[in-house]
Each structure stands twice: as structure tokens, then as C-alpha cells.
């Protein structure tokens, strides 16, 4: 466990070094423990793959006090606790016209486009975190052969539904936003809809599988290629 300063009102707890179900379980348990330990001094929490960002009210407390309380809460954590979860299937139209980086990613990986698609849709992913934008679910882990670094200059505009890869993570962009991930396809399912219940089709701990669909099926499901 490592505790770092993040900002004037935030500390970040690192609970592991790699992506694994065990680390995810520890992050999950730590979130509940931190919530109990800080009470009303807590403003927000951002759990992720292997870390927990803790945001507190700097007019009520300070770094030292929060640090002491976080250490005490984490030391009392017992290990393990498995994450249950549903399996959600998301349809994807994989093609150069729906995924601008599909061909360059395949070329760099020394694979055909079809091989990239089958490797991406073969794995059952776990939802490790939700963030970056409403409904943006970080899924892991992508097969090492199609892992790709983020773009050195992020795009200013990535379309809604874009399916993308960054390192060994994959995700579906829930709304138009800037982004530095490699785009490989498009998913017609809305990942965040404030009017729907629930607002998101997935939650942290769920498992996700991608299913390749045709252009026609994509359009029939309400997908947009604009």
C-alpha cells in the first residue's frame, strides 16, 4: 500500500501494481472502509484498477489527519472478497469506416484486420473502473498481441459508441469527447442515458463480451456512422 499526495484536497492510495481481480477486490473493500473512516469530511471517491483517489473537504480537515485515518482504515482491511457480477454482451461493428485506427493497429501488430477483431471479441472482460466520462467503463484485459499505446496527441473529438484500445484496456466511448485511444469499431448500445434506469448497462465488477456485427445490423440497432 502506498499513499501519495494528489492535490490540495486529495490523496491517492495505490493498492497494487497490476490489473487483477484480487487488486480490484482490494480497491472495492478499501472504498467502503475509507467512506466509513472519513464520514462527512469525504467529498468524493474515485476507485480505479489499482488505486483509490480520496477527495476531502480542506476547510474541515487536512492532509495529515486524512492520511492517518486512511492508513488506519487500510491496515484493518482483511484480504480477499470476490467480486460477483453479470455478463453483458455488447454488439460491435468493426470496420475501418467505424474504427479509424483499426488498420494501423493491425499493421503495427503484424495481424490482419480479421485477426484483430477475433482477438478483441474472444475475451471476457471485467469492468475495472468507471470514469473519464459518464458511463465510460474501463475493461480489461485486452490480448497482448493487440495492445496499443495511446496516441501521442489525443483526438479532440471521438464519436459516441467508438470502441477503443489503450495499452491492455478497452472501452466504448459513451458520448462525443476528446480521447487518445485507438479506435477499432462502433457499438450501438447507449453506455450512459440519464433518462434510463439504470443509467448504465454495466457496473464495476460486471463481465463484458463483445460480439461482432455487420454494418446493416449496426444501423438496425440504431448505430450512427456520422
Amino acid at each position: 500500500m502506498e499513499l501519495q499526495s494528489a492535490g490540495e484536497n486529495a490523496l491517492i492510495l495505490y493498492l497494487g501494481e497490476q490489473v487483477s481481480p484480487e487488486v480490484a477486490a482490494r480497491v472495492h473493500a478499501a472504498s467502503a472502509a475509507v467512506e466509513a473512516a472519513l464520514g462527512d469530511d469525504l467529498v468524493d471517491l474515485v476507485p480505479s484498477y489499482a488505486s483509490l483517489l480520496v477527495i476531502y473537504d480542506p476547510m474541515r480537515t487536512d492532509h495529515l489527519s486524512v492520511g492517518h485515518r486512511l492508513r488506519a482504515a487500510i491496515n484493518e482491511l482483511s484480504d480477499s472478497e470476490s467480486l460477483a457480477g453479470r455478463t453483458v454482451v455488447l454488439p460491435v461493428y468493426y470496420a475501418p469506416e467505424s474504427g479509424a485506427d483499426l488498420e494501423s493497429l493491425a499493421e503495427r501488430a503484424g495481424l490482419s484486420v480479421d485477426e484483430v477483431v477475433s482477438l478483441h471479441s474472444a475475451v471476457e472482460y471485467r469492468v475495472y473502473a468507471i470514469g473519464f466520462a459518464p458511463g465510460f467503463a474501463y475493461l480489461g484485459q485486452v490480448d497482448e498481441r493487440i495492445a496499443a499505446p495511446r496516441l501521442s496527441t489525443p483526438r479532440l473529438k471521438v464519436p459516441r459508441g467508438a470502441v477503443a484500445i489503450a495499452d491492455r484496456q478497452t472501452a466504448v466511448y459513451p458520448a462525443v469527447s476528446p480521447g487518445g485511444w485507438n479506435l477499432i469499431g462502433r457499438c450501438p448500445t447507449r453506455m450512459f442515458d440519464p433518462g434510463a434506469k439504470p443509467t448504465m448497462p454495466v457496473a464495476v465488477g460486471d463481465r463484458v463480451r463483445f460480439e461482432a456485427i455487420s454494418r446493416d445490423r449496426f444501423l438496425a440497432l440504431g448505430g450512427e456512422l456520422a
Binding site: G7, I12, L45, P58, M59, I130, A133, T153, A166
Partner: protein, 312 residues
């Protein structure tokens, strides 16, 4: 009863103090880029501190009152007129139904707040009225103001016409020193790279918005290209592979995978957001303890400000 938008200008957004406690479903904070000016606007109007106001970026906006009430404009130096008569900023003014309120383009600074007695009456989404366009949440249908929009408000009950004396009003310049609390992946930036970051001048690029201010200057190198995506707090300074720092602000993403050298002090991030493209930025390190003191000091300075009354 309402105030009508005749011309929204470059970017006008309804904002309250922001949306908190929703990061776990990926919602960001929104809220005023310059909280000092926002809170002062509500204080002058004798409103609840977090009452909804309009944040006007760059200026060029025009409104028409459809109700008798009181208004106040704080923040950037955007010349204010009511029925074409010049009026001072940081001052409460009575308006009658039919009066036209216009804000010209900013001469200094970049963001202003137009408040109304009682605040604008907007239905909160996830606990706040703050507009975040990227999320399509808050304000009127999650969007910036459009010509013809009606901003609901009550008839303003009798109140004092207060103003903030000139010696308390901020002076927005085109150069800002941003104090930085080192943190996050700081250890992955060599001593040389940190010295480079803290000793050079950066320029605000054209790519500056409510998500973040992208700066241009000497590239900063990091030992690592990316990290496991993790939570991003307000003010975090991200260094992508091109080495150009991005200071992340109110509408930032809540999680990301670029290395971060530390985070800006909120008081200075507010001043940064008053810079237009071309403005210059210096960074200076500050300890968490120093940051804490600066926040409490700023709060007590605000509490000591005396508001005076004028007779319109």
C-alpha cells in the same frame, strides 16, 4: 418570470457551485471556473452562496429582463451596459421588465458571472444545476445558452444595492503564477525535468476550455509513457507524450492514464481560467501544508471584505 437571452455570446453557461459526490458514475464537477467571482456575485446579491448564475466566457452577450429584479456582474472586465448606459461591475443594479443588459467583449480576464436576485430557478440534475456540455447535463437541457432561451427567476424582493469596493476587486493580468502541489507520478519526472517545469514560462494555447488548459512551452519528459488509469483531482497537471502540460479544470474527465506531475492550487487555477490564449503561466511548487494555509487565508480575506451600499 425570467430573463431572456437575446445573444449568448461565445459561450454562456448556467452554473451553480458544481456537482459533487458523483465521480463513481463518471460525472465530473462542472461549476464556476472562477469561484471567487461567482461567490462574490451571489454575496453582493444577498443570495444563497451556491445560487445559479450565468458564466459568460469572452463576452459579447445580451439579455432582456422580463421581470423587475436586481442583477450583478462580477469577474472579467467586460463593459456592462443597461439600456446602453454604462454600469459598473461588482455592483448590484435594479432592472425593470424590458431593460436590456449587454456585456461587451472582455478587456481583461475571460469569465464573468451574471447573477440575479434569488438566483436562476433551474431543476438540479444529479444534485446540481451546473452545465457540463460534454455530459449533456445541467442548465437548460445540458447545453450552452441559445438566443431566445428564457432563464427562469423570481421577481426580486427589495434588497440593498451593494458593491465591492475597488481595492478588493481582482486585477486580471495576462500572466499568472500557478502554485503546484507535487504529487501523483512526480517521482517519475527527473530532477532536471522538474527544474525545467518550474523554471520556464508556458503560453496558453488555443486549446483551452472548461476541461483543461493546454499549455505550450519546453517539453517535459517522463520516465513512463502511461499509467494504469486512475482518479484525477481538480487542477491535476497531466503531461502527455508530447510533453506539453495540460491543467485539468472543472469539466475534466474523472479518470485518465497520462502521468501527472502534481496539481494546481485551486485559487491559482481560477486565475489561470481568466487567461485567454496567449497568456503566460509560471509554475511554483507549494507543499500540501502551504496549500492548506493559502486556502484558509483566502477564505479569511474574503470574510473580511466589507461590501458598501450605493443609491442607484
Amino acid at each position: 418570470m425570467s430573463i431572456e437571452v437575446i445573444r449568448p455570446g461565445v459561450l454562456s453557461l448556467l452554473q451553480d457551485s458544481g456537482r459533487f459526490g458523483q465521480h463513481r458514475i463518471g460525472l465530473t464537477n462542472g461549476g464556476p471556473l472562477d469561484p471567487e467571482a461567482f461567490y462574490c456575485c451571489n454575496r453582493l446579491l444577498q443570495n444563497e452562496p451556491a445560487s445559479t448564475a450565468v458564466e459568460i466566457s469572452f463576452g459579447g452577450a445580451r439579455f432582456r429582463a422580463a421581470v423587475d429584479t436586481y442583477i450583478c456582474v462580477t469577474g472579467a472586465g467586460m463593459p456592462l451596459t443597461i439600456n446602453d448606459a454604462e454600469k459598473p461591475l461588482w455592483t448590484v443594479h435594479p432592472v425593470k421588465a424590458g431593460d436590456e443588459i449587454a456585456l461587451d467583449f472582455a478587456l481583461h480576464g475571460c469569465r464573468s458571472y451574471l447573477g440575479v436576485a434569488g438566483g436562476f430557478r433551474i431543476e438540479p440534475t444529479f444534485g446540481s444545476t451546473a452545465t457540463v456540455m460534454r455530459e449533456h447535463i445541467g442548465g437548460l437541457d445540458g447545453d450552452k445558452l441559445q438566443p431566445g432561451d428564457l432563464l427562469p427567476c423570481d421577481r426580486g424582493s427589495q434588497r440593498k444595492c451593494l458593491y465591492l469596493p475597488a481595492n478588493h476587486q481582482p486585477h486580471y493580468q495576462d500572466m499568472v503564477t500557478v502554485r503546484v502541489i507535487p504529487g501523483y507520478q512526480q517521482a517519475h519526472f527527473s530532477r532536471l525535468q522538474q527544474r525545467r517545469f518550474f523554471s520556464h514560462t508556458y503560453t496558453v494555447s488555443d486549446r483551452c476550455d472548461r476541461m483543461g488548459y493546454r499549455l505550450e512551452g519546453p517539453a517535459i519528459a517522463c520516465d513512463i509513457d502511461g499509467i494504469l488509469s486512475e482518479g484525477i483531482c481538480f487542477g491535476a497537471i497531466q503531461i502527455p507524450a508530447d510533453g506539453q502540460p495540460i491543467v485539468l479544470l472543472n469539466d475534466r474527465q474523472t479518470i485518465g492514464g497520462y502521468p501527472k506531475i502534481g496539481s494546481a492550487l485551486s485559487l491559482d487555477a481560477a486565475r489561470l481560467s481568466q487567461l485567454q490564449p496567449g497568456g503566460t503561466v509560471h509554475f511554483a511548487p507549494i507543499s500540501p501544508h502551504g496549500a492548506h494555509n493559502a486556502l484558509h487565508f483566502a477564505q479569511s480575506v474574503t470574510n473580511l471584505q466589507t461590501l458598501l451600499e450605493h443609491k442607484p
